[in-house]
Amino acid sequence: MNLNILLYEFHHFIKNKAKLFSFIFFMAICVFSIYNGIVISNSQTNTIEDITNKVTKEHVKVIEWFENGDKGPEDRSWVNIEDPFWSIRYTPTYVFKYPSPLLPLGIGQTKQFGFYKKINRWSSTYDTDIVQEISNYERLINGDIDFSFLIIFLLPILIIILTYNINGLEIDLGIHKLISIQHKNVKIWLVNRMLFYFILVIVSIDLLILLVGLLNIGVYNHPTIFQIILISNIYILIYFLIFYFLNIYTKNSSNTAFKMISIWLLFCVIIPGSVHQYVNYKYPANYMVDFLDVNRKQTYDVFKLENSELFDMLYEIHPSISKEKDLEDLTSNKQNIRRSISSIVNQMNINAAYEIEKQNEAKNNLIRSTYLFNPISFIQNTWNSYTNSDYYAYKDFRIKIQESINARNNLMIDDLWSGKKVDSETYKEYLKVLN
């Protein structure tokens, strides 16, 4: 490292208004993007708090019914909350996808998915109430000012602005030979000049990442911050290496700028766009007909089945009810069987959702297989996984939803078929199990 060259480059950077302004401008957008991420995160947290407050009020209301000896709401005389069927129905449950503390560093696919889901016994992981928040679709395609987007897509352009005329300008001005005379090795001179910008960029970006980490979770408690720093630094280093070689073999600065922009276009726009197009051709957007079929037609068909057939299906899912299986019990348990249909439908939904997840996984495998020549998508998805905002973070959310639906149906079956009478203590147990 030659300190003189670094110092010279620093002076050049300070005096060059275009470079200085671009850098300050970029850093300002980075700060804004982090603020934007915090706003999104806070907005989700507030919605989750609102829902939780509302649900808590409803729980308190039901507990009061128990304490006052009421059977349910005044205008619904048929409700009896001592019956597990009704008390579980009156246990409102939501499953949440809590925003990651690192969301300000990358909102990823957050805006493509819903982050809360009300659960009832008929719910499924692909219900239509789990869609993304109400938003302007034209805004969604343009995307947010997102920190990860800035680093992955815009930082290379800043690097281009900072470095495109290193060596090229000397050739443009015809003083290149002078450089060769003053510095025995032009390559080392070039390395030192580019090193200044590398250090400038790396230090600035790492500081911002660390700042968000410190403010949100405390940097020492979260290795993910260091993973984000590592991946961003490797990414930046690769760009510097590519641009270094372009600068060595430059003909003039505009020629180098053209090549640098072409590389950016190729890796950030053309290759991901082509992969996107190919993946979509191979796996067109799914209209979810198989799932809709189960959710509607097959569900209605289940209602038409005889009780004995329903019982057989139930028994397969819940062997614990086997002792009840005889004709006499079937007649007396008619209501229980009809009330347990949701459990059969839930199993059908699980099977249908599994097929959808399988199709999506095949699509994801195809995407991953392109990472070798499509590194931007790799970086993007890895980054999103660190900020818990990728497809799989939302798949985990769907798994949580399914667990909650299962818990509700299992509880319903167990307590219905054992003839349990619900009191306030049992209800509080329900709250624990279902929330």
Binding site: Y116, T128, N136, L169, A257, H276, Q277, Y287, V289, D293
Partner: protein, 468 residues
């Protein structure tokens, strides 16, 4: 000017890099347009299959209760337009499937982007990606030194001495570069037309023409702005740097920041807030399943009076059906109030964003490009409204059947298959562009204003230049 134009072309054709780049773009456009048409046709086929499958289920319904059939419902699948292959607009982020059923309006769900990992931030490699991101860059690189190189080589003086006017020289250069972009546009339009001609109507032709015009306008802006900057800055590096920074601001930075700004200016409610408000409003209405509802008695009195009978049992119709339809109509009013407000806010956001076309012509281009392909927000809202209108027709038909074919207390009455088949299918036809043009007038105006300002600015700047 013709001579300049002719000479410029001769110069370009002698340049191997230019030949290579142009051939590359022509080949890319051919390939990309063809593959996009194929991909789009496949998606349209899938949509039609899904639609037919769901309709066939409806047509095969056994005798069943009409109200149960309203719960069974149907689905609207968002169709792709033929021109979706040129610019898919918002289609990858909107849902594709909308469940239409009694009692409630659902959200359109299952967007393409929610079905996989993230791939491209800038969308699929379709013609619009080339037109919006890549060709403008090519034009910047072709034009940033076309004026300054004439000055530095002394050719400009020579041309003026020979009796040429500087305006003619500069505009000759602009039109030469412009003709390259027009050729690339025409090639794409021809390829698109070749592969989809049999499906074209007059409206599609108008839309293609608008598509062509908006890009033609934008390219003129890009070329003349780059040349204007090179006249102002008088050196290659400055004009290239500024042009690139402007390109970056227009295509990447401003759409995001202005989008953010419009969202903050016209706030959308959260889904939870909206649902709460709608539930509150709806609870004031008649719940078809709730016999204790106060409003029920008012309606009951009204109906008994109309049929001149004493009790519900004496009614020649099924009173439950009347209740259901009354609840449905109240629910529709609630939906109109709340979603009407949401749609209005979305339109306001769009309008504010369109105004930004005055500082960012890319916003106008993007808006017109999506609009001409029928893939923008306005077209999407039209699809949602058409689906909701159909849902109302569908549910009303079922409620009427339930009301007028059975009688009160006869809730187990089953309607036959013939009745269910008689309910019309949901067929969505994309509206004619002329009906929606007023939404995009501002975009067209912005692009025109940009062109006029640039022509004026170049003329003004050239008049001040003294050639010695």
């Amino acid at each position: 000017m013709i001579n300049i134009f002719y000479n410029e072309w001769k110069g370009f054709l002698r340049n191997k890099l230019f030949i290579f780049l142009t051939s590359f773009f022509v080949f890319s456009l051919f390939l990309v347009t063809y593959l996009s048409v194929l991909q789009n046709k496949k998606q349209i086929e899938n949509q039609e299959d899904a639609h037919e499958y769901i309709r066939s289920q409806w047509d095969e319904i056994d005798s069943t209760n009409a109200h149960s059939a309203a719960h069974f419902g149907t689905f609207a699948f968002k169709p792709n337009t033929i021109l979706n292959s040129l610019d898919e607009g918002i289609n990858s982020v909107t849902g594709l499937v909308l469940r239409l059923e009694g009692h409630k309006q659902n959200d359109v769900a299952y967007s393409e982007r929610s079905q996989s990992l993230e791939i491209s931030k800038f969308g699929k490699f379709k013609p619009y990606l080339i037109f919006q991101f890549i060709i403008p860059l090519l034009l910047i690189f072709l034009s940033f030194n076309s004026y300054t190189s004439e000055v530095s080589s002394g050719r400009l003086k020579l041309l003026i001495v020979q009796g040429n006017n500087i305006n003619k020289i500069v505009f000759g250069k602009i039109f030469t570069l412009y003709s390259i972009s027009i050729i690339l546009l025409i090639i794409t339009i021809i390829i698109q037309s070749l592969f989809t001609f049999d499906e074209f109507s007059l409206d599609e032709m108008i839309r293609l023409f608008i598509f062509f015009l908006c890009y033609a306008f934008y390219y003129f802006i890009i070329i003349s702005l780059t040349i204007f900057l090179s006249i102002v800055f008088k050196n290659n590096i400055s004009s290239l740097s500024i042009s690139l920074i402007i390109w970056l601001l227009w295509t990447i930075f401003l759409p995001k920041t202005i989008g953010n700004f419009t969202e903050n200016l016209h706030n959308l409610p959260s889904r939870f807030e909206l649902k709460e408000e709608m539930t509150n409003d709806r609870s004031k209405g008649i719940d078809g399943h709730n016999p204790s509802d106060k409003r029920r008695s008012e309606l009951e009195k009204e109906v008994l009076k109309k049929y001149n009978v004493e009790t519900v049992a004496q009614l020649p119709i099924n009173f439950s059906g009347i209740l259901l339809q009354a609840d449905e109509e109240y629910g529709n009013k609630v939906w109109d109030k709340h979603f009407g407000r949401v749609h209005e806010i979305l339109k306001k956001q769009k309008r504010t964003y369109q105004i930004s076309g005055l500082i960012n012509p890319f916003a106008s281009l993007q808006s017109l490009s999506m609009a001409s392909c029928g893939t923008d927000l306005i077209h999407h809202l039209d699809f949602l409204n058409a689906s909701e209108s159909y849902r109302r027709y569908f549910v009303e038909a079922l409620n009427n059947e339930y009301t007028f074919v059975s009688t009160s207390g006869d809730n187990a009455y089953l309607s036959n298959n013939e009745f269910f088949r008689s309910i019309n299918d949901f067929i969505y036809v994309s509206p004619k562009f002329s009906l929606f043009f007023h939404y995009y007038f501002l975009d067209a105006l912005s692009l025109t204003i940009w062109i006029l300002i640039l022509i004026f600015s170049i003329n003004y700047k050239l008049r001040k230049i003294v050639i010695q």
